[in-house]
Amino acid sequence: MESIYWPSFFFLLFSAIACVFAVGVLVAKNIVRMAFYLVLSLSATAGLFFLAGADFVGAMQLMIYVGGTLVLLVFGVMLTSQERFLEMKTMAGDWLLGLLAGGALLFILIYAALSVPAWRGLDRAETAAFAAQQTATPLGMGLLGVRVDQLDEPDAARRAGMSGYLLPFEIVSVHLLVVLIGAAYLARAKYKRESVRE
């Protein structure tokens, strides 16, 4: 009676990739494989961002997270995984405890997610009226202090609090500067390290 709603199909595809490779990160013993599975999982998460209408955040996820942070992580893996560190086994008791706690947490979260009726999803007929909205300009203006998406807020008290995200933007900028200087200083080469002899 009804045909496939393709955004839902792509949601299932991207979420399956993200979840399967997240479990792969958990289960893999080889650190290099864990890094690669993480790259795939976070790229699929960027696809989920695009499907939810957050095109700018999805692009930033791909650029900053996948193209920056994960490359940094892979460099860390390359610098520290000598042959004998590639596989470090965790004891079975730790795994059992972890799976019990993780399973309980997952059950609680899924139960909470399914218990709110407003979160179930719109009707298919309502989605026909969607128009693609570009989010880069409102996000950029919001970071500069002008909330162009809420210009017509009728309540005067709420209007007074809509000052935009200029202060967090400046704080994060200084934070990034401090972090970069600190990390470069922390990771500087202090002395020649003896190469590992087997």
Partner: protein
């Protein structure tokens, strides 16, 4: 288009998804990240768990602020995407510092095994 409504769970393919589906995917990523942080002995594995946790939280923020998934008055609107942007930036900064710490640890102990870090153990 093929008609598939007679399959179980067919509504997942024929109806638009809602916030609950995104929250479930975020919960799975979050739980995998927490288990990575708890069980991995390699310090870089712990860092990967941290990245998974932050991405699960980002999925929640994006879903709650999405105009495509919900149309009620409690939507976060653009705030969800802005917060997600800040989370991405802060996660990148924290990953850089954590990697610097791990590199220092490796230079001092010639190992990234977190079980070897027991100088402060009581």
């Amino acid at each position: 288009m093929p008609e598939i409504t007679h399959l179980p769970l067919a509504s997942l393919l024929t109806e638009p998804v809602g916030v609950a589906h995104y929250v479930i995917v975020g919960a799975i990523l979050f739980t995998c990240g927490v288990l990575c942080m708890a069980t991995k002995r390699n310090a870089l594995g712990v860092l990967m768990g941290i990245e998974l946790v932050l991405n699960g939280a980002n999925l929640n923020f994006i879903a709650f602020g999405s105009s495509v998934l919900r149309n009620d008055a409690n939507s976060l609107g653009l705030d969800g995407q802005l917060i997600a942007l800040f989370v991405i930036v802060l996660a990148a900064a924290e990953a850089a510092v954590a990697l610097a710490i791990v590199l220092n640890f490796y230079n001092n102990y010639n190992s990234v095994d977190v079980d070897r870090a027991e100088l402060l153990q009581g």
